[in-house]
Symmetry: C2
Subunit: 129 residues, 2 copies
Amino acid sequence: MARASTTSDVFNAIAEPQRRVIIALLADGRKYSVGQLVDSIRLAQPAVSKHLGVLRTVGIVSVERVGKSRMYSLNANALKPVHDWVKPYEVFWSRQLDRIQSRAERMAASIKPQPELTENKGDNHGCDK
Amino acid sequence: MARASTTSDVFNAIAEPQRRVIIALLADGRKYSVGQLVDSIRLAQPAVSKHLGVLRTVGIVSVERVGKSRMYSLNANALKPVHDWVKPYEVFWSRQLDRIQSRAERMAASIKPQPELTENKGDNHGCDK
DNA sequence: TTGACATATTCCTTTATAGGAATATAATCG
DNA sequence: CGATTATATTCCTATAAAGGAATATGTCAA
């Protein structure tokens, strides 16, 4: 099977470096036209438009027509799933490795219940120990 | 050009849902053999081994040989770049849209200096306004 | 309407998967 | 050693993607 579609998953959408560049450009909350973004990125206009299309599909950016231009703005809320996913792991590096084990085990419950795509058919997986 | 290699970028590594499942399984800080992971995931052993190979290449997991088994454990530090990248956007949803604009502009400086892959050849991009 | 400008879309090529099947490698046991 | 178990690797196929080139679509101005 091929990779998951990039237009249906925020994680895939932000996996593309150029798209992260676009997101960073929009991070000041202002609206940018495609042309302005093209000037800032080493990429042709069609490519930028395609990336914007992906970001739009996933909900990371919003468009607004202004004259002949289309003004794109960041909809950062769409990035929240990424933040929510990675946040629990923060404890692993925020505190230096003292007694990480116990904290990690306490934390496990807050991470595991995110099967996302795979339904684990609920069978007990022979955990270690 | 094709997509960036998944074996050289943490963002691409975690873009695969099954790999996030594996990461979640390892989140309790314990070591799991490949077989134990296979029992927990609806995926054949070779596929799991390949995913583990990707995660290992990117540094998200570590391996340790124990008898005929190989015990995998999470190296969450490798996820820090993702956290660092998404954290600045947290303000967008943590506070309800009151005066986000000004905060966003203050924040811009902390986000923009992450060109990652693209060297923006330093030219001024015609910002809006 | 025509022309210029801004952006999106289509077509095409190269590349990179993800996963299945079969096989190779490694380590333990008798 | 030979058999068994555990894991990795190779081969293969279907799918998807990124970007370039060319073109279509849409909007404004004269």
